[in-house]
Symmetry: C2
Subunit: 376 residues, 2 copies
Amino acid sequence: MERPFRFEVHHEDASSAARWATFHTPRGPVEMPAFMPVGTLGTVKGVTLDHLRQTGSQMVLSNTYHLALRPGEDVVADLGGLHPMMGWDGPMLTDSGGFQIFSLAAMTKITEEQATFRSHIDGSLVTLSPERAVAIQEKLGSDVAMVLDQVVALPNEPAVVREAMERSLRWAQRCQQAARRTDQALFGIVQGGLDATLRVDCAERLASLDFAGYAIGGLSVGEEPREMYRIVEATTPVLPRDRPRYLMGVGRPVDLLEAIARGVDLFDCVMPTRNGRNALAFTDRGPIRVRNQVYQRDRRPLEADCPCPACRHSLGYLRHLFMAKEMLGPILLSIHNVTYYQRLLARARKAICEDRFAQFVSERQASWSKGNACEG
Amino acid sequence: MERPFRFEVHHEDASSAARWATFHTPRGPVEMPAFMPVGTLGTVKGVTLDHLRQTGSQMVLSNTYHLALRPGEDVVADLGGLHPMMGWDGPMLTDSGGFQIFSLAAMTKITEEQATFRSHIDGSLVTLSPERAVAIQEKLGSDVAMVLDQVVALPNEPAVVREAMERSLRWAQRCQQAARRTDQALFGIVQGGLDATLRVDCAERLASLDFAGYAIGGLSVGEEPREMYRIVEATTPVLPRDRPRYLMGVGRPVDLLEAIARGVDLFDCVMPTRNGRNALAFTDRGPIRVRNQVYQRDRRPLEADCPCPACRHSLGYLRHLFMAKEMLGPILLSIHNVTYYQRLLARARKAICEDRFAQFVSERQASWSKGNACEG
């Protein structure tokens, strides 16, 4: 019998550590490098299913923490699980809640046994152990589940960072032992802050546990991009070449390309949708602030060659929608931005295939900087 | 040469005054009785163009008052006109602003020459004369323009109602004389409050002016439904049979059917979209309050036979979206409600065609009441 999850590397770029691969899941393939739009509460904000498919997204992410609080994993299960509930029949990944406990929850207390915290919705007391994080994700029915990890603020005391990394490793093992579903892959998460030695140590020990995939977590929490790139660069060589590598919560278009060049295969980020809701559009000439007065009578679309529904309209119309606070503005720009990310990654895969990924990164960076200079 | 606008009555119902007709416009036909979703500011709130088309809508309405204030008719013209700006290539009707001067503007002063008022956006002083209402609509480039009318609160002093009706008639003539575009039809508007005699008088004098279509205005401003039906019933027989009849700003599904039975062909209303945004869904078993706790684990769609994107999901999911304040809730319910209206009118046209419209109205009313009793 074929394994339900299989990672197939098609080509490794000659000019960088980038690779073109396919991650096969029971719900279909994911071409990598891949970007997952974030469907926090079982919906990518403002985007209907048909539009989501049109963006070219193959895999989406949902948040365990948010869904466990609202509507609760039992309700999701009663509605048939996350896939039937959302109507998304493609691959889906759920995070474990580790990051949200760090970023959203209040009065968090971490013991060896579990995390205890107050819900950011109603202040109620919630506990999350590695076993419970796995049980919730099994109820949600995602295709890829993440281990529960402990995320710490950066910079931080070396001892604090090390302790969180060690605990994350122990929790990863407990998650692995708790996992029951054979149709759900479990990914480990590398922690270790901005200390490359710690990261390498964590990655090696995690790799020996034989996860279906490996994430780099605890980054994109305010550190300089070059610090993030340095940690990614130190970590990826230690991770198994035959498993997908996932950089969690990243990032800007440039961050994706820099990480791909260092061997990362998978990303998720709220940036395209959150920025879209705030009238910032990603384009090949850099980000565009759609509310800018200069676009008032601009008949051109955001990007002439973009097939998304926003680009069937003029910039002037998009600006009008935002100035008039019409819902359609956030809707259209969210769709455009996710489409932009997917089109960027499609081009990235092609560049890898043609052994010119390093050149592709330089070209994109030049194009983004040039456009930004123009908008002023 | 064929006239650019042509109204073709296919069949008159044997059981009521309802008629099945086609209104031919330069941008395509409109099957009547027809419902126009309201795109106040050049967008049906929360609905993308492809979804709007999927609802079965053939004609949409935009508001002259709103567009003149924001982004301004000159900006719309610079963006190619309302059709290219919205991307809607089907028939479009613009109102004249008369109703919004009554309902939205502040410190309104009406003279014989024009209306002067303060913008509800920024308080700036705006004037609107019959000539300017036509000029704005010609710049917007809608297919059907409306004359500027004077709407009064109801109930009101007979002298006030009569004066507004007489002025509306004079303004209608001025609009007719000001109109220049041959590719834009101009509809007259019957006023006269709740006084059937005044309405008949107004309708007769308006009919002699030979408009391309006739609207009944100034209703749905808080009066009892039966009062509205009484006025419609008194007015339609006086209006030319070979022109479309449009009941402005109406209404609930039952109001549409009652008005169709009295000879009305065309409607517009914000109800499907506004109620959709507020979690109220129209169905054959009456309106459904989607936030109701009873739907938390309900796996059924709103309507099993509805082809809209909302009905590909469970009621439980729709409820979750509203409880979590996700944009997708208002988006999906707006699409569903417009779809419901269009499906209802498609069935109405079929019933007219089969001479059983009166029976159809009874059946629908029974079904709506029964469902409401169930929800409790």
